[in-house]
C-alpha cells in the first residue's frame, strides 16, 4: 500500500501539481482605471481628492453593510430583503445613545465608539430574533423567503417608526470629529477618514477571519458546497446563525456610520440603502466578499463622481453601472464557483 501511494504523493509534492487559483485582477484594474480617468474628467486636483475620499468612504460604509448580506446568501442561499431593518436600527440606536451622551455632557470621541458598540449589540440581538422567527421557517423556499423577509422589513420599519417616531432625527457628529483637514488645497472631512478606517478595519478583519482561521475555512467551504461540509460532521446551521447575527451586527455598525455620514436619520434609511447594497452584491457576484468590496467601492466612487459632473444622471449611475457589469459578466465581477 505504502509503495503504491508514494508516486502520487511525490507528484503532489512537486511544483506544478497543485495549480494555484489565478487571481483575477481585472476588476481591480477597472477600479483603478476609474479613479485615474476621473482626474481629467473633473479637472481640478483638489476636487478630485475630495470626491475620491468621499467615494471611498461611502463605498467602505456600503461594504460594511453589504458584506453580511452577501455571506448569508453565499452560505445558505438566503436572500434577506429585510437587511435594511438592521441599518435603520443601528442608526436609531445611535441617536438614542448620542442624546444620552449629550445629556451627560460626554460629547467626545468615545461616545461615538459607545454608540457603535451598542448599535452592533442591538442589531445582533434583533438579527438573532429575525433569523429565528422570519428566516428559519422558510429555508430553501426562495419565493416565500423573498416575500417573508420583505414582510419582516416592513414590520421592522413600522416598529422603528412606532418607537422613535416617524420624523427625521438629526445625528450631529461629536466635536472631536467635526471639521476637516487640508491636503493640497483639498478639504478632507475628518469623519470620512474615521469612517474609512473603520471600514478598512472591518474588511481586513473579515479577510483575516475568512482566509486564516478555521471558522473562515468552514464558512468558505460552506459557500462552495454546503452538503459536503455537513457530511464531514460540521453543524452548518449553527454556523449560519452565527454568520447571520454577525452580518446583522455589521449592518447595524454600517447604519451608525451612514447616519453620521448623512448627519440625520429617517426610518426610510433602511429601504434606501437596501437598494444600494443590492446593486453592490449583484455587481460583486452573490456570495463573494472580495466582489462585494470592489462593487461597493465602484458604487461609492461613481455616485460621487457622477454627482459632481452631472447631478441629473447621478440617480441612474448605479443602475447604469449594474447594467454594464451584468452585460460584461452576467454572474458579477467575482462569481462564486459551483453556483
Amino acid at each position: 500500500m505504502q509503495e503504491e501511494l508514494k508516486p502520487r504523493d511525490s507528484v503532489i509534492a512537486s511544483d506544478e501539481a497543485m495549480p494555484q487559483l489565478r487571481f483575477d485582477a481585472v476588476p481591480l484594474m477597472l477600479l483603478l482605471g476609474l479613479v485615474l480617468l476621473a482626474i481629467p474628467a473633473i479637472g481640478s486636483t483638489s476636487s478630485w481628492i475630495t470626491l475620491t475620499v468621499a467615494g471611498i468612504t461611502m463605498g467602505l460604509i456600503i461594504f460594511v453593510i453589504a458584506s453580511g448580506l452577501t455571506l448569508v446568501f453565499g452560505l445558505m442561499d438566503v436572500l434577506n430583503f429585510g437587511h435594511g431593518v438592521f441599518i435603520a436600527l443601528g442608526a436609531f440606536v445611535a441617536t438614542t445613545v448620542m442624546s444620552f451622551a449629550q445629556a451627560a455632557a460626554w460629547d467626545g470621541f468615545f461616545s461615538l465608539l459607545t454608540a457603535m458598540l451598542v448599535a452592533m449589540l442591538c442589531a445582533a440581538a434583533i438579527g438573532w430574533l429575525f433569523e429565528r422567527l422570519i428566516v428559519r421557517p422558510v429555508y430553501g423556499l426562495h419565493l416565500k423567503q423573498i416575500l417573508i423577509t420583505m414582510g419582516g422589513m416592513i414590520i421592522g420599519e413600522e416598529l422603528i417608526k412606532a418607537i422613535w417616531g416617524p420624523l427625521q432625527i438629526p445625528l450631529p457628529l461629536p466635536e472631536a470629529l467635526r471639521g476637516s483637514w487640508l491636503l493640497a488645497d483639498a478639504a478632507i472631512e475628518r469623519y470620512r477618514i474615521f469612517a474609512s478606517l473603520i471600514g478598512l478595519l472591518v474588511f481586513s478583519g473579515l479577510a483575516f477571519t475568512l482566509s486564516r482561521t478555521k471558522l473562515g475555512l468552514l464558512i468558505r467551504a460552506g459557500v462552495q458546497d454546503r452538503s459536503m461540509v455537513q457530511a464531514l460532521g460540521y453543524r452548518i446551521d449553527r454556523l449560519f446563525v452565527a454568520v447571520f447575527v454577525a452580518g446583522s451586527a455589521l449592518a447595524g455598525l454600517g447604519g451608525v456610520l451612514w447616519g453620521f455620514y448623512q448627519q440625520s436619520v429617517t426610518a426610510q434609511i433602511g429601504a434606501q440603502v437596501n437598494v444600494l447594497i443590492f446593486i453592490v452584491i449583484i455587481i460583486g457576484g452573490l456570495g463573494s466578499t472580495l466582489g462585494c468590496f470592489v462593487g461597493a467601492l465602484l458604487v461609492g466612487l461613481i455616485a460621487n463622481y457622477a454627482g459632481f459632473l452631472e447631478p441629473k444622471i447621478a440617480l441612474f449611475s448605479n443602475i447604469g453601472l449594474m447594467v454594464a457589469v451584468l452585460l460584461w459578466r452576467p454572474q458579477g465581477l467575482y462569481p462564486v464557483s459551483d453556483r
Binding site: L143, I146, I154, A162, I163, Q272, F278, N318
Partner: protein, 368 residues
Amino acid sequence: MKWLQRLLSQDLPRSPLLALALLLTFLVLALAPFLFGGAKSMSVAAKILIFMLLVASYDLLLGYTGIVSFAHTMFFGIGAYGVAIASLRLGESWGALAGGLGLALLLSMLLSLAMGLLSLRVRAIFFAMITLAVASAFQTLVSQLSDFTGGEDGLTFRNPFGISPSYQPFESAVFGLLIDGRALGYWLIYGVVLLMFLVLLRIVNSPFGRVLQAIRENDFRAEALGYRTVAYRTVSNVLSAMFACVAGALLALWLRYVGPDTTLSFEIMLDVLLIVVIGGMGTLYGSIIGSVVFVLAQNYLQDLLRFAAKAFNAVPLLSDLVNPDRWLLWMGLLFVLSVYYFPSGIVGRLRRIRMPAAKSDATAPPLS
C-alpha cells in the same frame, strides 16, 4: 353550460362556495351604480375592479411563473401617467387616451423586456433585486421630472366626452339613478376589467400557461424537456407588465388624477402582494376574492385602528402601535402570517372544503 366553460377557458371555480362568491361579486359590481350611488362606495367598487386586474396580472408572474417582481407598480404608474400626460398635452379626447395608452404600453413592453433579458437569464433571484432597484429609481425620476409629471403633486386632467362627470345621456332617471358620465366610466372600467380577466384566464390555461407552471414547479426539468425557460419567463414578465399598464390607465381615468402616491408608491406594491397571498397564489380567481376582501378590509381596518387608538390613548407604546398611521405594520404582520399559515389563500381553502352534494371534479388538472 358549454359556453360558460369555454368562456372561462375550462378553468371553473371548482367549489360551490367560490362559484357563489364570484357570481355575487360579478352581479354586485355590475349593478354598483344602482345599488349604492354614493361617491365613496362607487370609488370603493372601482378600486376593487382595478385591483382585480392589477393583482391578476401580478399573479401571472408570481403565482403562475414563480418570479417575484417589485416593479409591478412601476408599470401600473406608466399606464396612469401615459393617459394623464396625453390627456393634458393633447386635450381631452378618446384619441389622446388611445395614444397615451399605446405609448405607455410600448414603454412598459420595452422596459420589462430589457429588465427580463438582463436579469432572468442569470437567475430568478436577481430579478427581485433588480426590479426593486429599477422601481425605486423610476419613482425618483418621476418626482424629479416635475415639468412633465407634476412631481410630488401629480397631475389633474379631464376625461373625454362620454365619461366626464357632466355628461348625462338620459333626460330622466333610469331605475332610480340619473346616469351620468361617472357611472358610464365605471361601466367602461367594469367591461375592460372583465374582458382582460377573461383574456388572462385564457393565457394561463393555454399550453403557454402550462409551461409557465412547469417552470414554477421545476425550472430545471422544464428546461430539460426542451422549453426555453428564459424566453417563457421573459414573455410572462412582458405580458404581466402590459396588463398592469392597462390597469393603471383605468385608475387614471377613474380618478382623473395621477400622483406618485396613488400609483407608484411601495405601499401599493405591498397591497398587491398581500392581495395575491390572501386570495391565493396561482389561481386568478384569488385576485377577485382577494381584492374584494382586502379593499373592504382596508376601509374598515383603519376605522378599527382609529377606534383602538382612542381606547388605548393612555398606554404609551401600545397607543403608538395602534395609531392609524402604523396600519402598514398590521398589514405586514398579516402578510407574514398569511405566507406562513395560509399559503394557498382563500381560494385554496374554499376548494378544499368538500360539499357532500357536490360531485368532485376528477378531470380537473391537479392544483399545486
